[in-house]
Symmetry: C2
Subunit: 364 residues, 2 copies
């Protein structure tokens, strides 16, 4: 059994199927079509199942708020703005990000299956959950999948001290013969904001080097301050250029270019949150068929050799084992399928408050 | 005037054109066709001109050694293994990496101009110089350019303590209206090995956190040890996962997948250096036409707004200004075009030794 997140008495375990049913019911009661409700539920619960609590059902309230404020369009007309056999640009019409994202990656996959490569950009969307969800959609079809999204400004860039860049995640997945897929799913900032929220909840300072004050530029560790206008997360690589902070900043800018500007969406500090009207979040999806570039079996076998070699390298005495990307998440998923999904009690209360207001059956 | 590298009495300035002529002469005397010699010279000298000394003419000796050892094929038959309107896979036939790389990105550009996107993978190649060179080729044609390459093992991955991964650079460029292009050109490791070489030359310890011992796993700062089998560079994000070391490791793995495995090339610790037979370096080139996805003028104007906004953010008191990626390199280029390219005297001696052996006119 493997659990990425330590589960303590503050958590309650809910069976995956029950949680899914609950989330679908909530969205259906907010007039979201059943098919769309299922996509969003699947995406949020996959995050929880993989141990990425920050992007799981604890975000349900934000989505509900966004819909109730009419900032999210539950009956979007997702429009194809441009299309060719290899690429497309979609206008999400302020849809739930998962709904627009699912459609985008599905198109990219169809194109890749026909012509070897598919790229779909989306503009005018919303928060789409974990980036890895979409990369995995491609992997399940035997393809390499890439997914990026712009996101609201929480991160400073090198030389600045302002919430300016998004946490701008990048996910890349690839199938592996007889093993879990390779799945990198990373914020280009030091940490995603959800990690800071976990420290806030636990009343603990975050490690040195994750964030700075927006007033003095000094390193700060108080999660409340970091999440307030007085603090900002640092890019991957940290403060300044000494340990490569300019690289995290650069990767975040690339996400703004590919997922934002290229698709006619906005960028960095202009991107809105789920409760903002016209948040204009942009996504970038790409699928590549290794069977078009070469032999698919050879690709998957070589991927297997690669990940086995990575695991078999000379081990550092300070580490228990060498992990391949995605592995912890897949193991956590398998465990939670048996034991249920741990939900933080306060989050459960919040979810049940929503349920009561909407007339949905409460958990567990 | 702007100089990224402080120039001291250990350097001699050589006019760019004279340096170009010299490098072309050296390669021609090694039986490299003139056209190919010019591509390699242009690539190496662009690195020096942009302030990336580690990838400039100081590498000439390695290339000469590789050719003299017959590890590099100066009359390659660069073969198209697979091709479609949107992608291609090339076999570099052990060509100079720049020659195979130039051909690869040129094809990607041609495809992008026709169908909006072009992807070209290359296998069986060699060290291709700075990744940014190829991204800029696309930018000069009004396209977004992406370039990645596998490279020989110098970097450890998270949980390991072994030279296992490459420094695996990623470059992304995009045109900007009335400004320098955006150009991210980064190793996915903490630093490229060339930066460690600069510290070795200056007899100075490198900053804490760049490298570890392969014997104990402890942080080490002696550049000689880091470059020996007793040391290894850390991934971007550093040791462990606390500051995101697993992200640098993951990005490096992605380069191995896209530039290596996808093209039928080898990966990570199997990749050879310029003096190794069958080093089987792999490259990944991608060009995207923003004019196909939307309006090219709008794209370039929005890029201009983006970079101006980045520069205009609230400045950190510890920094003189906020830079956009590529900017320092372009300013250094302009300065060196006027003042000449600073060459380290010992490197100049080495270059003149090569010249004397080959009967090429020595510098300056």
């Amino acid at each position: 059994m493997f659990e990425k997140t330590v589960v303590d008495e503050n958590y309650v375990r809910i069976p995956k199927d029950r949680l899914f049913e609950f989330v679908v019911d909530v969205f259906k009661n907010l007039d979201v079509p059943e098919e769309d409700a299922e996509i969003v539920a699947d995406n949020l619960i996959m995050a929880d199942m993989r141990g990425v609590e920050s992007h799981g059902v604890q975000r349900l309230k934000r989505y509900v708020d966004g819909i109730e404020k009419n900032a999210v369009n539950v009956h979007p007309n997702i429009r194809t703005v441009k299309e060719s056999p290899v690429f497309a640009v979609l206008d999400g019409d302020e849809a739930l990000g998962q709904v627009a994202g699912y459609k985008g990656m599905k198109m990219a996959i169809e194109k890749a299956k026909k012509v070897g490569v598919g790229i779909v950009g989306v503009r005018n969307s919303n928060h789409y959950g974990i980036a890895g969800y979409y990369a995995l959609m491609a992997v399940k079809e035997g393809l390499v999948g890439i997914s990026m999204t712009t996101s609201r400004p929480l991160v400073t860039h090198t030389g600045a001290m302002e919430k300016f860049m998004g946490t701008s995640p990048i996910a890349v997945g690839a199938p592996v013969e007889n093993d879990h897929p390779f799945l990198l799913d990373m914020a280009t900032s030091m940490v995603p904001s959800g990690k800071i929220e976990v420290y806030r909840r636990k009343n603990k300072p975050v490690p040195e080097g994750w964030a700075i004050s927006t007033e003095t530029g000094e390193i700060i560790t108080d999660p409340r301050k970091i999440l307030s206008p007085k603090g900002t997360i640092l890019p991957l690589g940290g403060l300044g250029e000494l340990h490569g902070g300019h690289k995290g900043y650069g990767l975040s800018a690339v996400v703004d270019i590919l997922a934002g500007i290229l698709n006619g969406a906005t960028w960095s500090h202009h991107v809105g949150g789920t409760s903002d009207k016209h948040s204009d979040v942009g996504h970038f999806f790409m699928a590549i068929d290794p069977g078009a570039f070469g032999d698919i079996e050879e690709f998957k076998m070589n991927m297997k050799k690669f990940v086995d070699e990575l695991r078999g390298a000379k081990k550092h005495p300070g580490f228990e084992r060498i992990w391949v990307h995605g592995e912890k998440g897949f193991l956590t998923y398998e465990t939670r399928l048996k034991l249920g999904v741990p939900i933080y009690k306060k989050v459960l209360d919040e979810m049940n408050n929503i349920a009561e207001k909407l007339g949905v059956q409460t958990l567990p």
